[in-house]
């Protein structure tokens, strides 16, 4: 992914996602029309609801932060060709670790405690990525299934801790005690917390890592052609494992952001499905760190805007999830044009005959 802006790159990173979004919005429009509202008004409400006021934009940023970090996590993992859809579990485990440090390590200055919580989250998330990662890289075990299983194991592990050893002694609900205030991400404006800034800085860092360093080239090589990478002297297994650990650490940091910036406690399912949504965010961003910044923002806009659409037009906000999925389907379907595979044989034959005619007609010119 050496950054050299060619028309091919523009097509892949900008045109394809934009067309996918437009087509998905059109499809969503049919649903809106069917529920008896005006699609244009609905979309106006979505974007106004997400970007119309400072408060709305704050909400968008808050939702964008975990999506961005988890999206980067998956983007970097997918770049190696390993479909480790493990972010959901890593968010939970990372948040749990940050929570444990933040609850029990009171009395330390915020300057020390906040980084300590973040590091704990990254180590825990990294570990959660390392286990399926090592099983995959060194024992060739199916990383997809292992990742899904680890997501659920993480979910129940968090449930166990918040109802057992880590439960708030003063409370009755299965949730942890509040983090000491020194462990909170400082607030910038109203609810906007440092996590958003962290996410953007990390995104730039990941961009630098993937696109500007030798290690990034190794990642790309593993994703592109593992055999060739091996012949070129790259330690493929090591690169994949390292990448998956970094990937886990990034998702863990997303979990830390939720706990330290927003909830200030650990409770069941605080990850709010960001880890699953991040799969789509990574794909829409075409696995490119800068693309993922844009797609995470877009995703957050839809999520926040959906609520105001629901309030005014009574259209269920879950429509947004439909639009999001359709977007990804169109992104996936763009492969169709790349591979030149046609759904109907006759189209293929027609195009072939046209091409033959043209080639036959001007062979002397092209030669």
């Amino acid at each position: 992914m050496a950054v050299k802006v060619s028309s091919e790159k523009i097509k892949e990173y900008l045109i394809v996602p934009l067309i996918a979004i437009i087509l998905a919005l059109l499809c969503g429009g049919i649903f809106i029309k069917a529920s008896g509202a005006s699609p244009i008004e609905a979309y106006k409400l979505i974007f106004k609801g997400a970007l119309g006021s400072t408060r709305a934009m704050t909400e968008v940023s808050i939702k964008m932060a975990p999506l961005l970090l988890a999206g980067l996590s998956l983007g970097i993992a997918f770049s190696t060709g390993a479909f480790a859809i493990a972010a959901e579990g890593q968010i939970l485990i990372g948040g749990l670790a940050a929570g444990v440090v933040g609850v029990y390590f009171g009395g330390i200055s915020s300057w020390l405690l906040v980084p300590l919580c973040m590091i704990a989250a990254m180590i825990a998330g990294g570990l959660w990525g390392a286990i399926p990662g090592a099983l995959y890289a060194y024992r060739k075990l199916d990383i997809v299934i292992n990742s899904i299983m680890f997501n659920y194991i993480a979910f129940y592990l968090v449930n166990y801790f918040i109802a057992g050893p880590f439960m708030d002694p003063a409370g009755e609900f299965p949730q942890s005690a509040p983090l000491v205030e020194a462990a909170w991400y400082p607030r910038l404006i109203s609810r906007l917390h440092l996590g958003v800034v962290v996410a953007i800085i990390v995104a730039i860092g990941v961009y630098w890592l993937v696109c500007k360093t030798p290690f990034g080239i190794k990642i790309q090589a593993c994703g592109f052609n593992r055999k060739a990478a091996k012949y070129a002297g790259i330690n493929v297994k090591g690169t994949i494992l390292t990448t998956l650990i970094i990937s886990g650490a990034l998702a863990g940091l997303a979990g830390a952001g939720e706990v330290m910036g927003l909830h200030h406690r650990v409770f069941s399912n605080f990850s709010s499905l960001y880890g699953w949504n991040a799969i789509a965010v990574a794909l829409l961003g075409r696995l490119h760190p800068l693309g993922i910044i844009l797609s995470a923002a877009f995703w957050a806009i839809l999520m926040v805007g959906a609520n105001s659409m629901q309030r005014v037009l009574q259209i269920p906000s879950s429509l947004i999830v439909v639009i999001q999925s359709i977007t990804i389907f169109f992104i996936l379907a763009s492969e169709l044009s790349k591979r030149k595979i046609y759904v109907f044989k006759f189209i293929k034959e027609k195009l072939k005959s046209l091409e033959n005619k043209r080639n036959g007609g001007d062979t002397h010119v092209s030669n």
């Binding site: 997809v144 680890f150 194991i153 269920p316 879950s318 999830v321 439909v322 996936l332």
Partner: protein, 304 residues
Amino acid sequence: MFLTNVLASAIRIMTPYLYGSLGGIYSARAGVVNIAIEGMMLIGAFSGFYGAYTSGSAWIGVLVAIIAGATVGLLLAFMSVHVGTNQVVTGTVINLGAVGLTSFLFTQKFGKIAIVQIEKLHVVPIPYLSSIPVLGKIFFNNSVLTYLAFLLVPITWWFFYKTSKGLNVRAVGENPSAADSLGIRVSVVRYVCPMISGAIAAVGGAFLSLDLLPIFMENMSAGKGFIALAALVLGKRHPVGVVISSFIFGIAEAIQFRIQIYDFIQIPVEFLQMLPYVAAVIALAGFIGKSVPPAAVGKPFFKE
């Protein structure tokens, strides 16, 4: 008495897992990864509920679920065979879309909660057999869909291991180019199998929304499809294997419900809930005999 009750509810709990994992076999054996079992179940649960609501008959609901599930299978097949996208990604997006679509349609039609009277699937005791002392209560006093799930086990086994069509499917999953050179139409197999897979998984979903308490809730399948996936892996993609693994998961869940009541087993509930997933990881790692997927699973095949 306690044991009988636990086993009886284990049989009921395992029914959707059995449907999901049996469905998974059809897809996996043809070389198409089906991560979308969860989404197919959810679609099945909604369409089953909706079909029963509009038609007034639970069985028409099941039929609607079958059609809807097969349609989702068709989508998975199209993306895998013709577009050649990563099947894991396609499956994940289907899961996401299923949550969105079902809760959109449901909220649109019924509002937040639906308390509607619809026909449910009744428990049909099998004559004579149901009066056998213990076994009768456990096995022969269930809903028809439960019997059907168990009936599908020998049928699936017979199909894959006793018919030439089944052999063809397995050949496609192991080595599509060799199968192609033998004249098997790989793309047809890879269309039909995911559709069967979707239909079967959707019946499992319909069981959720029509059995016992006919009700639909947003995201009703709630990870059951992933437990079915774990059962599929633990059962080594073999019909007999998945019955055993589904049964283990069913019994773990049945015990879990009773722990709160009896409080005699000192295991935190969460660890029992974790069991299916841990078991699948261990099975994958090869500690209970290696669970090896078909060689060509997940790889698109393009005839050239």
